[in-house]
């Protein structure tokens, strides 16, 4: 008995020690090279906005001396849950209206959210397109390994909607948690095709090929943004919202493949 317990404890200790070493998360805080900024604006944004918002954040910092924009990119529902639990955020940009509506009904949003972009689905295939997919109908072929998002997450809900509109029944080999998981399965060639957003295909460069399909217009995802009630930098937060919705913001988003809202 004793020896058994000792073994367990020893192994667990090794496990935790290892966990402590590798589990250190890469925090968002980083010292600025020339003097520390006096104010930090914290923006919670959907994972699909990572590259565009990082770019806009740099523009914002250039226009506002002494301000640092710090981002937290994650799934929209995670972000909303974190804000409801009191996470210190100034701005929220979500990948769908559903999660923003939840934030609104939780009374954490300052103003009425503004739609600033939209996104549609595309079929992503590996560059050599091993299964010869050309249309949404091809995804129903049993031998074709198709990966989609789970219907519980926005990209999966959109996928289900286009399936219904197009009267195509896809039997996926996997229903992933996030659109990036779908993309990586296609990139690595594990899957023959996946349904992802147009912006994901664009961001993947040449690692996947995107195929548009007419029914995609039936499931358009709208991205809303809003300043948050708890923000200690209300003016800055509104400035950031204005930047994202401005023509300047529009052009950065358009370059990444986002359509107008």
């Amino acid at each position: 008995m004793k020896r058994w317990a000792a073994s367990v404890v020893a192994v667990l200790l090794i496990g935790t020690a290892a966990g402590c070493g590798s589990g250190r998360s890469s925090g968002t805080s980083s010292g600025s090279p020339s003097g520390s900024p006096r104010q930090t604006l914290t923006v919670f944004a959907a994972a699909s906005l990572t590259s565009t918002f990082t770019k806009l954040g740099r523009e914002f910092e250039a226009a506002h001396k002494g301000v640092k924009v710090s981002f937290s990119f994650a799934g929209s529902s995670d972000l909303v849950a974190q804000i409801e639990q009191g996470a210190p955020a100034d701005v929220l940009a979500s990948a769908d209206t559903k999660n923003m509506d939840e934030a609104v009904s939780a009374k954490v949003v300052e103003n009425k959210p503004v739609a600033f972009a939209s996104n549609t689905l595309e079929i992503a295939v590996p560059p050599d397109n091993p299964a010869g997919v050309t249309s949404l109908k091809d995804l129903a072929t049993p031998s074709t390994k198709v990966v989609v998002c789970a219907p519980q997450v926005p990209c999966g809900a959109a996928a289900r909607k286009v399936e219904q509109i197009a009267k195509v029944r896809i039997t996926p080999v996997s229903e992933e948690q996030a659109v990036t998981d779908v993309l990586t399965k296609v990139e690595s060639g594990e899957a023959d095709a996946g349904l992802v957003y147009l912006t994901d295909v664009r961001a993947a460069g040449g690692k996947v090929k995107g195929l548009t399909f007419p029914q995609s217009s039936s499931a358009v995802n709208t991205y809303p943004i809003a300043a948050l009630k708890k923000s200690k930098h209300a003016t800055l937060a509104n400035d950031f919202v204005n930047l994202v919705t401005s023509t300047e913001g529009r052009s950065v988003l358009a370059a990444a493949g986002f359509a107008a809202p």
Partner: protein, 274 residues
């Protein structure tokens, strides 16, 4: 890299030395540590909405996930025993150049983030991985199958068995084995009749840890196996997905996972005590 060897001191040594007991001050950080571990568990229990609990944990998707988790974890534990016992024997009872390096490599999944393990498995057994082409020629496709879940679990859980069994083997020593050999027992008989019975507690501990680790496996599974109800979506994956839409269901399922883990450890302790 050297690994601490688990095992309590030899009984004779324990009898000779008088128990000193830890200094009093250690109780303060020890209590803080215990609270840190126990409090989140209490918080989960406090958050469970009991009114809908049964309906949430007996839904189709929950039951499918639980059944899959138990099935795959049991299989991977068997694999861990089948592969881990010989590995621990080789590490504990032989010495050859590079053994330390080999030991470190074998135990690497212990310190590796599971996602990294999943990526490594993907590039080994995936369609375009190292062995992917060979497997495809043989008509074997691993990705998106339950077999991939078991492989991911075995990959992360195997070191737990090896490290605890190797410790037990070193602690038990080779005296009895040597005696049995001088009495004419062959190596296999010695292994079966002497070595194994002596290290059974260590083996049981290792198997339990492997099972528990398999049950909790998430990162390698989601990276390597995918997520499909009844096929690859184990309980941790189901919990993570349910969080998106129904936090209550996620909490209820978390409690189920905690209960299963407690049950497993309790069963083995009861078995040991009997």
């Amino acid at each position: 890299m050297s690994w601490p060897r688990p095992g309590s001191p030899h009984p004779e040594v324990a009898n000779r030395t008088r128990a000193v007991g830890p200094p009093r001050w250690v109780f303060v950080p020890a209590a803080a540590g215990a609270v840190f571990v126990v409090l989140p568990l209490a918080a989960i229990i406090a958050r469970v909405r009991w009114s809908g609990f049964l309906a949430l944990v007996t839904s189709d998707s929950s039951l499918a996930a639980l059944a899959l988790s138990l099935r795959t974890s049991a299989t991977s534990t068997l694999l861990c025993v089948g592969l881990g016992v010989p590995m621990a024997m080789v590490l504990a009872r032989t010495s050859f150049p590079g053994q330390q390096v080999l030991r470190s490599l074998v135990l690497l999944p212990l310190v590796l983030p599971p996602v990294v393990g999943g990526i490594a498995l993907l590039y080994t057994f995936g369609r375009r991985g190292l062995l992917g082409h060979t497997l495809e020629v043989l008509g074997i496709q691993v990705a998106f199958t339950t077999a991939a879940v078991i492989m991911a679990q075995t990959f992360v859980a195997l070191p737990f068995l090896v490290v605890s069994l190797e410790g037990a083997l070193r602690t038990s020593g080779e005296r009895y084995e040597a005696v049995a050999a001088t009495l004419g027992a062959g190596p296999t008989t010695v292994f079966r009749r002497v070595t194994l019975p002596l290290v059974l507690p260590g083996l049981a501990a290792g198997a339990v840890l492997s099972f528990a680790r398999s049950l909790g496996e998430f990162g390698a599974t989601i990276t390597f196996a995918g997520s499909l109800q009844g096929v690859t979506r184990t309980l941790p994956l189901e919990i993570y997905l349910q969080r998106e839409v129904d936090p209550d269901a996620a909490v209820a399922l978390s409690l189920v996972l905690v209960l299963v883990a407690v049950l497993v450890i309790g069963l083995v302790r009861a078995g040991r005590a009997a």
